[in-house]
Amino acid sequence: MISDKHDDFTPRITSFLCKWCSYTGADLAGTNRLQYPTSIIPIQVMCSSRVDPVFLIKAFLSGSDGVLMGGCHPGDCHYETGNYHTRRRFAILKEIFDSLGLESDRLKLSWISASEGPKFAQVSNEYTEQIRKMGKNPTRKSVFL
């Protein structure tokens, strides 16, 4: 298991999860008792398209080591096309981060359906590991933000 309590750094990954897919997928991971780290902090939203990129920025600047956004696979949005908009907004945000030299890897968009409990656990584990490698988000300590 990845999350090791002796490791002094457990990342904090704010995770905006679509009620219809990723959140349910997370539940399924639970029902199957698939273990994943405490780093994942789920916040349920009705649709990934509800997540204003500013949410991600706010989480990032408030010291979230990673920000995960979980939505339905393209084409399967419970609200028809919401996640296509999500995808564009996210692409733009990443581009902004890159062009400003900010760590855009601290932002992650993942398509996890309601049936993909294992995928949710896997994404959580891998992303946590990736973030742990990146270290703490410097915004945690930054004063002049």
Binding site: T14, A26, T38, S49, F55, S62, G63, S64, G82
Partner: protein, 557 residues
């Protein structure tokens, strides 16, 4: 209410936090007492808030619900947080409990400390810590929730069926009852639609006292939503009429592609070229196929797959009907030689092979070609062996492709529903809601949905009817979503972002006031519009920025 130094009165909240042990499922992993202690120890972080925090065995059990109900009443709780399982399991259960008290169900939150905590986090200490964080998040979020009130709407159980073909009539019959009128609206002068044969339903529909048939009539306007549509009808003689209904079923059927569309087929008015559907109808009516001069044709060619390449799809049903027709002609006038010219035979289903056998047995000549072209009455057949042969026939019957009916586009715009890549009505979700559309209360039956057999058309018709029967029960009322979006007019610039991203057409532009307006009865509360508004002029109830920000703040303490 409490007096403050300033002499102003401030709200005081009494937040109840109840932790469910769920047997060993939660209590076995999470140290609930520690969680309670942790949270109580910081109760001063909330201004003017009193916390009541308890644990209980199974809150979802009968006694558990009773306990919760009593607690809410006795402690005069203004907000409730239940830390238990996934909202998918028992959110509604505890909302139900709230509604038995004075506490508005939307001033309650469930925290998922089972599926997404005790079950997935191995280390008890971490799980305990995490549970506390989740609960804190929900406390600060619930404090920013506001009462929402469901407004049940009277519904109109009647249904409008657009299109009097096989699907339309089937749907009408399935729906009509003494408690529900059905308005069957047919554009042409007669029922029956495009399926070459007379349907047994036709008589039944005409005789059904609960079905009002409008011939030579079209839908000219529609406003409203599931349970309450106002539909404008326009008849051929220009008469306008308005009817009201709770649901709309689109069974407008389809058209056939023009055989000459493909360059490979050309003929003139005078030539004896009749598309499959016509031929079927004539045969059905007259019992035989005569030439225009009244004589019987000696040779007939049925040409399959006409227009398939242009349309980019196989209509799936024409091979079978072509062969059936060919066989029928042979049966009715054995002296006529019938040739079926095909490229690939598409005969799906258990019955497919029988159709082919019948055709063979009835002496239909089957010719497979790589391609066929027609000029006048002469077919140019590219044989499989590469050779080609020109043959003339007395009558040619091209099986044209099934294409969307002419009205499809205008109706789609009127009802704000999308079309698929081929121009047929698009279903709401190909898996979960194949008969519904993005506009609640509007359903699609038959070939309006895409090429399909008469049998499938009727199955879809019944599927639609089923939807209506379950959604619009006479005498019952429907509760529209209350977690919908509202617009803060003072901030709205009417830029139209929200209109563009809303697939439900729930937002309208009030050009007069230069702002956008939400039709709450249609809004599903996805919040996409919200994220599209840079002015913060929209607010999705129960998922406001403030609520979400507070939850994030707590998570990141």
């Amino acid at each position: 209410m409490s007096e403050t130094g300033t002499g102003k009165t401030e709200m005081t909240a009494r937040v109840g936090v109840y932790l469910c042990e769920c047997g060993p499922n939660i209590a076995g992993k999470i140290d609930l007492d520690k969680v309670m202690a942790d949270i109580l120890s910081e109760s001063d972080r909330y201004r003017n808030v009193e916390l009541v925090i308890r644990r209980y065995g199974f809150l979802c059990s009968g006694p558990g619900k009773q306990y919760l109900e009593d607690e809410i009443k006795e402690n005069g709780l203004t907000h409730l947080v239940v830390a238990a399982c996934s909202p998918r399991d028992h959110d509604s259960t505890f909302m139900e409990v709230c509604s038995r008290t004075d506490l508005n169900p939307y001033l309650y939150r469930i925290v998922n400390i089972r599926e997404q905590c005790s079950w997935v986090i191995t280390d008890p200490e971490e799980a305990t810590e995490r549970a506390a964080t989740y609960i804190r998040g929900s406390i600060s979020r619930v404090l920013r929730q506001s009462s929402l009130f469901e407004k049940p709407l009277e519904i109109n159980p009647d249904a409008v069926v657009i299109g009097g073909g096989a699907a339309g009539m089937e749907a009408a019959l399935a729906l009509s009852s003494d408690l529900r009128r059905v308005f069957l609206v047919e554009k042409s002068a007669s029922l029956g639609g495009g399926c070459g044969i007379t349907m047994p339903q036709e008589k039944a529909v005409i005789e059904d006292p609960n079905v009002d048939i409008y011939l030579e009539t079209q839908m000219s306007s529609v406003i409203g939503f599931l349970g309450n549509f106002e539909i404008g009808l326009k008849s051929a003689d220009g008469k306008d009429e308005e009817i009201t209904a709770g649901a709309i079923i689109l069974a407008i059927g389809s058209d056939y592609s023009d055989p000459q569309e493909s360059g490979r087929i050309s003929f003139s008015e005078s030539d004896e070229v009749h598309i499959l559907a016509e031929a079927e109808r004539t045969l059905e009516a007259a019992g035989d196929l005569k030439l225009r001069d009244g004589t019987m044709p000696e040779t007939i060619a049925v040409v399959h797959c006409v227009g398939r390449e242009e349309q980019g799809y196989c209509s799936g049903v024409c091979c079978s009907s072509s062969l059936k027709l060919a066989a029928a002609i042979r049966r009715l006038s054995p002296e006529t030689a019938v040739t079926s010219v095909y490229r690939d035979l598409c005969l799906p289903g258990a019955d497919g092979e029988n159709v082919l056998r019948m055709a063979r047995e009835s002496g239909v000549e089957l010719i497979r070609t790589k391609g066929t072209s027609l000029s006048g009455m002469e077919l140019d057949l590219e044989k499989m062996d590469g050779t080609s042969e020109k043959r003339s026939f007395d009558m040619i019957i091209p099986a044209a492709a099934i294409v969307p009916a002419a009205d499809t586009v205008s109706l789609a715009e009127m009802l704000r529903i999308p079309l698929d890549e081929h121009g047929f009505f698009k279903e709401a979700h190909r898996m979960t809601d194949p008969a519904g559309t993005t506009t609640e209360g509007v359903f699609i039956a038959g070939t309006a949905h895409g090429p399909m057999s008469v049998m499938s058309s009727m199955r879809f018709a019944r599927a639609c009817a089923g939807q209506v029967l379950t959604r619009l029960v006479p005498g019952e009322r429907i509760v529209p979503e209350v977690k919908v979006t509202e617009i803060l007019e003072a901030y709205c610039t009417g830029c139209g972002n929200c209109l563009d991203v809303c697939v439900y057409g729930a937002i309208y532009a009030d050009t007069d006031r230069g702002i956008s307006v939400v039709n709450e009865a249609v809004c599903r509360g996805c919040g996409n519009c919200f994220a599209s508004c840079p002015s913060g002029a929209l607010r999705t109830r129960h998922f406001t920025n403030e609520q979400i920000f507070r939850e994030v703040d707590e998570a990141l303490r």
